[in-house]
């Protein structure tokens, strides 16, 4: 996978009447391990879902590969750089091999690299 730095600025998200994320700014740098921690209901999952391109923030500016853009414009790119695992991961119907091959085929990896 290509190494890339991603910077999120002014991330704002409301769910109903509750403001989950308020003007959050952070960066994910290539080669670093980032730990996200906090109390229940502070927006960790929401933030991860935004990073993974699964949940639309109300406002966000994203600097991805030195190009500043909106979440809507770069969500495809975000999805290609990230995988979001649920707390209790969902397995598609089939064997573990089927699940691995599903991912590999979606990531456009050749059959040679697929699990046999």
């Amino acid at each position: 996978m290509k190494s890339i730095n991603i910077r999120f600025s002014h991330v704002h998200k409301r769910l109903g009447r509750k403001t989950i994320l308020r003007d959050e700014c952070f960066a994910i740098r290539s080669g670093e391990l980032t730990l996200l921690c906090g109390k229940n209901g502070t927006g960790k999952t929401t933030l991860l879902r935004i990073i993974a391109g699964l949940e639309k923030p109300d406002i966000a500016t994203i600097d991805i590969g030195n190009a500043i853009t909106s979440w809507r414009r770069c969500r495809k790119q975000l999805r290609s750089y990230s995988v979001y695992l649920h707390q209790h991961a969902y397995m598609l119907d089939g064997s573990v091999k089927d699940n691995l091959n599903y991912t590999l085929s979606q990531r456009k990896l050749t059959k040679m690299k697929k699990i046999t």
Binding site: Y84, A89, Y90, L92, D93, T103
Partner: protein, 229 residues
Amino acid sequence: MTATLLALELLISGDPELWGIISISFKVSTIAIIVAVPPSLLIAFFLAYTEFPGRRLLVTIFNTLLSVPAVVVGLTLYILLSRQGPLGDWKLLFSQTAMVIGQIVLCVPILVAMSHAALQAADKRAWETTRTLGASIIRAAFTIMYETRFGLLAALLAAYGRVIAEVGASMMLGGNILNYTRNIPTAIALETSKGEFAQGIALGIVLLLMSFALNGLFHHLQGRGQWSV
């Protein structure tokens, strides 16, 4: 008892009139289902996985249409397709095409409502997992359909069961013409009104056997938990 024996004799002897009616019935209903399934699945998918104004109203409308009697569908399409009707120029009344249209109108609400229920009940994580693993929207949609295949298959069976056994729309739109638009239910209605029970019983046996075979197949697939054919 005599009528039942006569019915079995008609079936076994390969009576051309009887088997002609059976083939018309299966042909018309199968075409109707084949045409109705793709748009119905698409509508069901949009209703289950997208949010837009009027979505709930649409779901309610499709659920309401489940209970529309076949004769009402037949009457509405009859008015539209009759010579004086807005679609009279198409000259479709009393044809197999008109019967197919009627059956499509009848089965779309069943397919949409039941498929929507199946898709809506699918684990929300399934969609997110497919998307985060890199699947396109279309591929993710097919994956979700595979995950919910038993619910979708139940919808298909219910829809097929309704259209192949309905009398009202087929009678009004097809006209019950022998060797052209006479199908199993309209033939049963006609033969019973004439007091000729043998053919009616024979056709009833075919319908029951078909229903038994389809349900047996469905339960077989469901029992295995995966496609086995």
